[in-house]
């Protein structure tokens, strides 16, 4: 057994000290409350009186409640819809703005704007734009937009999904832009000499090289959709009816509308577990954890 040298020991100590603030914050603001929520899931509590232990009641009710079931399906639907809308678009835009031409740099700045806006402002703005009585579609030139975007149960979900995508596409575009810029030029030069066209270059070089960017971005989209709340709350509040009541919103309404903190905590716990399982699964099956360099031999 090799004794660590003094210098190594000291480095460990300093590392721990450096870690401490982050660790304290993570424990205090993430882990401890999470545990508290998990325990609350087994109680009936209105937020004021003393919680009463009810065992598995909340879990049983949450699973058997058709509204919560629907909310679960809607959440899955949002995850898929967001991924399908955002991933191809972000990849396309990312590749586009990765070019060094000046007009692309200007466009990149414009594309980035939605990310700078507060979610509440975005929600209120789109809500006003989509209003059937005062919104954009009341202009005769835009009469084809005259749909009841947020008042029609079938449309509202997609209207919200599109606005969510509008808000987050810039962020993922930046990820792809960075990913594309890291691809060594020599690969493209070699491919050009071999006579590969632009499409072939994208297919055989850019796409495989972006593998980990795709995994990262997809993970953020999927897990983000699982816990998405604020924009939906501002735009529709879960309505009309239950058309946009996602699981996090169902949790919020249970907690602060119905004052059933226990039931809400049970839903919250299942969201935590769902997110954890999803991210672990993605890391495992995508080979992300091994992080093998993709530039061997370059």
């Amino acid at each position: 057994m090799i004794e660590p040298t003094r210098a190594e020991r000291d480095r460990g100590g300093a590392g721990l000290v450096m870690l401490l603030p982050a660790l304290v914050l993570f424990l205090g603001f993430a882990l401890v409350p999470m545990l508290g929520v998990f325990v609350l899931g087994f109680t009936r509590w209105d937020g004021l009186a003393t919680p009463a232990w009810t065992g598995l009641d909340n879990w049983r009710e949450a699973v058997s409640d058709p509204v919560t079931q629907d909310a679960g399906w809607l959440t899955v639907k949002l995850m898929i819809t967001s991924w399908v809308i955002q991933t191809p678009l972000c990849m396309f835009l990312g590749v586009f703005v990765a070019g060094h031409q000046r007009y692309r740099a200007v466009l990149a700045v414009i594309y980035f704007v939605p990310l700078l806006l507060s979610t509440v402002a975005i929600g209120l703005t789109f809500r006003a734009l989509m209003d059937p009585n005062f919104g954009l579609s009341t202009s005769p030139a835009l009469a084809m937009l005259a749909k009841d975007w947020l008042g029609d149960g079938d449309l509202a979900f997609y209207a919200v999904a599109v606005v969510i995508s509008w808000e987050f596409i810039p962020f993922h575009t930046v990820l792809y832009q960075a990913g594309v810029r890291q691809i060594p030029r020599v690969l493209y030069e070699a491919a050009t000499i071999d006579g590969a066209g632009r499409l072939a270059q994208f297919w055989y070089i850019t796409l495989p090289q972006l593998r980990y960017t795709i995994v990262t971005s997809s993970m953020l989209i999927l897990i983000g959709s699982l816990t998405y709340f604020d924009l939906v709350y501002v735009m529709t509040g879960g309505g009309p009816g239950f058309a946009t009541r996602l699981l996090p919103l169902d949790m919020f309404i249970s907690a602060f509308g119905r004052r059933e903190m226990g039931r809400a905590s049970a839903i919250a716990s299942s969201l935590v577990v769902g997110g954890l399982v999803l991210s672990l699964a993605m890391v495992k099956f995508s080979g992300f954890a091994r992080m093998r360099s993709q530039q061997e031999g370059v």
Partner: protein, 434 residues
Amino acid sequence: MQTSLGWNLRLTIGLGLWLASAGSTASAEPAASGPGTLAWALTAGDEKAYQDAVAQYNQRHPESKITLQLFPNEPYKQKLLVAMGAGTPPDLFFNWGGGILKAYIDAGNVIDLTADIGKDPAWKRRFFPSVLASATFGDKLYGVPINGVQPVVFFVNKKLFQDVGAQPPKTWNELLAAIPKFKAKGKPLLSVAGADRWTYLMYAEYFVDRLAGPQVFADIVAGKPDGWSHPAMIQAAEMIQTLVKQEAFEKGYPGVSYGNGQATALLYSGRAGMQLMGSWDFPNILNGQASFIASDQLGWVPFPTIEGGKGSPGDVVGNPSNFYSVSAKSTHKAVAIEFLKTNVLSDSNIDVLLKNGSVPPVAGLEAKIAKSPQAAWLSFVYNVTKNAPNFQLSWDQALPPAQADALLTNLEQLFLVKITPKQFSENMNKAMKR
């Protein structure tokens, strides 16, 4: 999509705020009085009156100032619950009386004002007893009225009614007859802010009361089994769906919101004939488009009677008033009580309210009202409230929170015609049992 970027940002901001607050408490400590008395109330409606009362108090008591913070309706309810649960409530908090105040009282969060205020006969005589009743539980007073009485009435666009050749309806059949006249001009008779859900409730409350009187709902509150299956309840639900099927409401009504002023704007911009709303809508119209009132286009009528209905045509529903209550955790109880006694609904404070188009539940205001620029409206509200055989507190305020939420949810389904009147009754009977 909670990105890691957002998370980091939030952490940084949180840390910054924490450091800033640590810094500010340290520097604030030398001031002898410590942090001042905090009062929470709602924006819009009568906010001018809340600000006036606090300003009056602060002018006279520079050494113990009150700070007023205003919030929008829905977020406020959540903020108050969290603050109460966390043991950091404001000293004075705005509330609606009724079931939600009762929940806070039961949890020991509210102090009993009987000895300090309620016992004073001169104070008590000033107010309408029906209003104080909403904040009185077991003969103990827990709240002090702070603003106008809030009966729900139909606000009418008189000009639009003239244009389509109809009269504001006095009966259910007249109301039904007016729908096609409006439709012929491409306009809806009624504007309703469906996204808010409590707006739906007003129709249900009035239909049931006009059909069978207040006893139906009183039985439900008293826990009578299958109270929601009363024939009047079913008929009211059918009438609601009749309105929906006849397209009485504006297009897209399930997504229209009250909070951002859309539903009211439909009325004063001449796009809908009437809106059923609490009297607080008058200040909103006054502040939104005063010319609509000045040019005498705004009218108001009580809810129509229903042919063959057994309820009294004089009954009103709504919120008797809002109240300030004092938290049990308050460290400034003396300041809070002094403020409630001397500045809230004081003579000058009443003038501010009247000017804003609100009528406080205070006896003997006839002379003041007659002198006000809004005399016609104010005396209508005053008399409707004073002469009402029954003033029904909004159902969602009268029921405990979980049941109130079930009611709003099922009512929304009813308005969207996703469930039948019978299913509505069954769902509600089930919700009451939990």
